[in-house]
């Protein structure tokens, strides 16, 4: 069975600095998708960035980028130039291409932005 592990329950970063949130996963599949979702307090969950496992190039969306290491089964999220609005719970998610579209979330990392 697939698992997703986020080893940092909470993190803090100074405004305008860079922070990296870690995520590792375990799977025996070769085709899958990885996502980072952001859930601000009392607000809806939104997609931040996604990565197809067959692509070697790391995905980038403005200030957000990932470091995808397929062999190591690692999928970290880097947030550059952190802003107060980045404060949220961040969930790493794995989506199976093979097993009936099963989706698994990590336990989340709560990110605090210090002014």
């Amino acid at each position: 069975a697939q698992t997703v592990t986020q080893s940092q329950p909470e993190m803090s970063v100074q405004e305008a600095e860079t922070v990296t949130l870690s995520c590792t996963y375990d799977t025996s599949e070769s085709d899958y998708y990885l996502f980072w979702y952001k859930q601000p307090p009392s607000r809806q969950m939104i997609l931040v960035i996604r990565q197809e496992a067959y692509k070697q190039q790391n995905a980038t969306e403005n200030r957000f980028s990932v470091n995808f290491q397929k062999a190591a089964k690692s999928f970290s999220l880097k947030i550059s130039d952190s802003q107060l609005g980045d404060a949220a719970m961040y969930f790493c998610a794995y989506r199976s291409e093979e097993q009936d579209d099963k989706i698994i979330f990590g336990k989340g990392t709560r990110l605090h932005i210090l002014p």
Partner: protein, 113 residues
């Protein structure tokens, strides 16, 4: 404009009294999901519909049922809520399987008295 709409935002019910949560979408997406999210925890998938095909997670309690009468609407029925069912319930949609991301609603926070 909201694309995945969950009603109500807050729902209170009594122990053992059936309750229904609703979700509608304006995206015409094929897939609709229901998640349970307890405080400070990750969302846990309960079940999902791929079009009319219902897919139940193995560890979803029998107490939880779902209906999808048409593409736009999906309901979560909790037949006899227990105190442990108090949680945020999230509805999400996806255009298709695989790489397509999910779009989430605001959630319904369910409290059990």
């Amino acid at each position: 404009d909201a694309m995945v709409i969950q009603n109500p935002r807050y729902q209170v019910t009594q122990f053992g009294k059936p309750v229904t949560l609703s979700c509608s979408q304006t995206l015409n997406h094929n897939v609709m999901y229901w998640y349970q999210q307890k405080s400070s925890q990750a969302p846990k998938l309960l079940f999902h519909y791929y079009d009319k095909d219902f897919n139940n997670e193995a560890d979803t309690p029998d107490n939880f049922q779902s209906r999808r009468p048409n593409t736009s609407f999906c309901f979560l029925d909790i037949r006899s809520p227990g105190l442990g069912d108090a949680a945020m319930y999230l509805c999400a949609t996806s255009r298709d399987r695989g790489q397509k991301p999910q779009h989430f609603g605001d959630g319904t926070r369910l409290s059990i008295l």
